[in-house]
Amino acid sequence: MLKYIANHLNSINGIALWPTISFVFFFAFFLVMVWWVLTTPKKDLEHIAHVPLNDEEGQPINTLKDRS
């Protein structure tokens, strides 16, 4: 199976360039994402950050109290 894949990949012109292209693509995505994160107002994310805390209202926070 591997040979089959390798043969076909080998027949593509300029495949050596693919890794570089994919890396550039990949890194560009990362930079755009960082740029977005840095420019988003904090309050936009507040709701999401609170999602884990909204699932059981009135729960005791610390359940590790001494045996009564």
């Binding site: 199976m1 390798a6 080998n10 994919s22 693509f25 936009d44 999401i48 950050a49 884990p52 359940t63």
Partner: protein, 712 residues
Amino acid sequence: MIERFAYDNRPVRAFLWATIFWGTVGMLVGLWAALQLVLPQLNLWEWFTFGRLRPLHTNSVVFAFVGNGIFAGVYYSLPRLLKTQMWSRTLTLLQFWSWQAIIVSAAITLPLGITASKEYAELEWPIDIAITISWVLFGINMFGTILKRREKHLYVAIWFYIATWVTVAMLHIVNSYAIPVTLWKSYSGYAGVQDALVQWWYGHNAVAFFLTTPYLGLMYYFVPKAANRPVYSYKLSIIHFWALIFIYIWAGPHHLLYSSLPEWAQSLGTVFSIMLIAPSWGGMLNGLLTLRGAWDRVREDVVLKFFVVALTAYGMATLEGPLLSIKAFNAISHFTDWTIAHVHVGALGWNGFLTFGMIYFLVPRLFRTKMWSRKLANGHFWIGTLGIIFYTIPLYFAGFTQSLMWKQFTPDGYLVYSNFLDTVLQINYAYWLRSLGGTLYLIGTFMMVYNVYRTAKQGSFLASEPAEAPAMEKESREVSVSGHWHRWIEKRPMQMLFFSLIAVAIGGMVEMIPTFLIQSNVPTITSVKPYTPLELQGRDIYVAEGCYNCHSQMIRPFRSETERYGEYSKAGEFIYDRPFQWGSKRTGPDLARVGGKYQDSWHFYHMLDPGKFVKGSMMPPYPHMFEKQIDLKNTERKIDVMRKLGVPYTAEFARTANDSLMVQAQGIADNLAKGGIEIDADKQIIAMIAYLQRLGTDIKVKPLNGDTQVKP
């Protein structure tokens, strides 16, 4: 409209019990294996020798302890984060039982010597298929739950779960590619250098995507819950996520520095490993800073104590990992106990303590009570922490000692410790102390087991937890386009899955495809010939015994290694090795060029009772090889499978393979008889000797004086 539903706590409880049970078993096996290094008599029968027990320890801790821990945490947090119940109870049950069945089959097959010998992927092909099925069931259930959620936004923990699922699926399928020979034996689809690269791409990312990303997801859920405050910076969590999955996948080759892997691939591994410090520390700080303003509670709450140590251990391990990926460090650390210390900071500290914290958090909630004893839980925390310290520090010392002794030369340029055994005996004390550390850690675990048992007994289990949430409204198009694009992706789990897959697949392909495509990466050596049938059978016994757990077959290009073991290893020497046997640790000496170094009779006596033959050796004896016969029934099939994989045997050769096997075996038996040793030619030890005598001889440089008798 408010909808009423219920969270099902039964799968959470089931996975928690499984986590605790298998965790205890895995740690017990680990302690047993650790003690075998100081008390070789603990190598019991053929089934419980170090080479077979060590994979059982690693597999049970990784896939049984941490694996069940992941599922327990996910089955608890996922429905709650999405305000819905799990999509299918049937799938949950099937997944639970299939996973436990896989663990049981691993616990049976590994001691029987049924192994693919790829570290942390030792299980043979039928079990590999079962793992795939169980993992797919988990994925369907997870995505089904995500699709019918009542919370629009996917919290960051869920992204980590998604990335875990998709990457582990990819890693497992690619690395397990093999051609079956029999029901319980297969040959790897890759050979030599390529096999090593695929394996360490897998091995490294098993750490990344099985031991790290799912646990980061759990961290992002349970730390804010236990601290009762949101994560320190949600923005940081987004960067943490994308940076981590982008970078992690590239770092695998750092396991193969100074090996025969092409230089560019090694450098790629180093660069990405160093870059990993940033997201890893970002994540650790994000977790720790969540406790800002709540540090006083860490004194009171044992859950938070466990989490703080877990995060600190994560920080230490993820700083050390990149450092070990720098060649200058790696030259010292690789093949020594330093690596073992490093992984245990992660395993005992990060995974273990995060799991314990999660257990102490969940059990009182599931059983609607308080923890039976806070004192006992605190005791567990302290004895566990001491256990980690006692485990790792001696092994760091052992690692430095080994490396320095291996590399020390006299002023005249000879190795000071030319006898490898000297370097083993020197670190005996560290192995004892490490066992003590393991014992302490295990005692802590038993304390937890008892505490959990008493808590469950005093409470009453809440099988179904009622909840309510507004139904998710269909969003109008205008709203969704006006938001930020990341908000767009957050709401779309399928797209998220797709992008995560693209991210990890690109990294994986760039790393591996060139090695497969470009001929010059693995230069062929004309004198390297396929194994003879007898050597192949011997090699399969070597694989089954797990010799790679203690012996490497990779001589690095250092003078200290070429002096000790011979010419450094070349990529072209391994083209017929399926699977590769480079190993990752030298508890015993490297064997890449052991062929011709000793006489057949030396190997005969040595394998029969190493401790008696070489005073102080901790190697297990292999008397069963002297009783059992070579399995001649499958020789033909083995040669046929190898032919299919491209090894240049002829079709006729497969038919007559057993004849040629017996001729070679008889030759060895006759040779042994000259020294007064009576043994039948069809015994396994003969095949083993044939394989060992072949190792590295294809391009071996002959000793100048022609003397093949070297002192052990």
